[in-house]
């Protein structure tokens, strides 16, 4: 995955996946998700107060194409933790409800978290790769 190719977009995506402990590829931004599935996934991460980097795949269709080629996963969103694909919206929601997501992310499961809440707007929209790890 870290091998250089003559495909800069693929290299940038692979690099971002390696570089960020938690990274979400989504439609839109965490503050303004452009799809219900992406919104649901952001909601689960925010409910756990888990820091994550986010990449909006919408500005360039090649991002999605190359991402799916790397991950062998056809749909958006895609959540990676520690360089590994965790899943899309369905798996993230299931793992959130079961407490596995908190475990994978190394955070505390909040009390009474039986459903992922909707994404709550917090910050102004960011442009591309957003690193919330400060």
């Amino acid at each position: 995955m870290s091998e250089q190719t003559d495909n800069p977009i693929r290299d940038a995506i692979a690099g971002a996946i390696t570089e960020h402990p938690v990274i979400l590829f989504m439609k839109g931004t965490p503050e303004a998700p452009a799809c219900g599935f992406s919104a649901r996934t952001v909601g689960a991460l925010q409910a756990l107060d888990a820091p994550f980097a986010a990449v909006d795949i919408l500005p360039d269709p090649r991002i999605r194409q190359e991402l799916s080629a790397i991950s062998q996963w056809p749909t958006i969103p895609q959540l990676f933790v520690g360089g590994e694909l965790i899943g899309g919206a369905d798996i993230v929601a299931e793992m959130f409800e079961s407490g596995e997501l908190a475990e994978v992310l190394g955070v505390e499961q909040p009390v009474a978290a039986d459903e992922a809440p909707d994404a709550v707007p917090t910050n102004p929209p960011n442009m591309q790769i957003e690193n919330r790890l400060a």
Partner: protein, 75 residues
């Protein structure tokens, strides 16, 4: 755009012994499938979902805009 019945038949044909329920979540192109298949045994969720996605290849994201999945093994 394949019908929910067609999707169900294709999943059950590709994964012998499986049962699938497919429902339309809106607009005819947001589908949700609940699949119980012996082939899922011992696989991670990721691998289970990939088995189903692989049946449809490029149709996912194309004619099938979104296929939401819930997978499990018969027990």
């Amino acid at each position: 755009m394949p019908s929910t019945d067609e999707i169900r038949h294709r999943i059950e044909a590709a994964l012998p012994g499986s049962t699938a329920e497919v429902e339309d979540w809106g607009g005819g192109d947001h589908l949700r499938a609940t699949v119980v298949a012996p082939q899922f045994e011992g696989l991670s969720r990721i691998a289970q979902h990939r088995l189903v996605y692989d049946i449809f290849g490029d149709e996912i994201g194309g004619p099938i805009h979104a296929l939401s999945l819930k997978t499990s093994t018969p027990s």
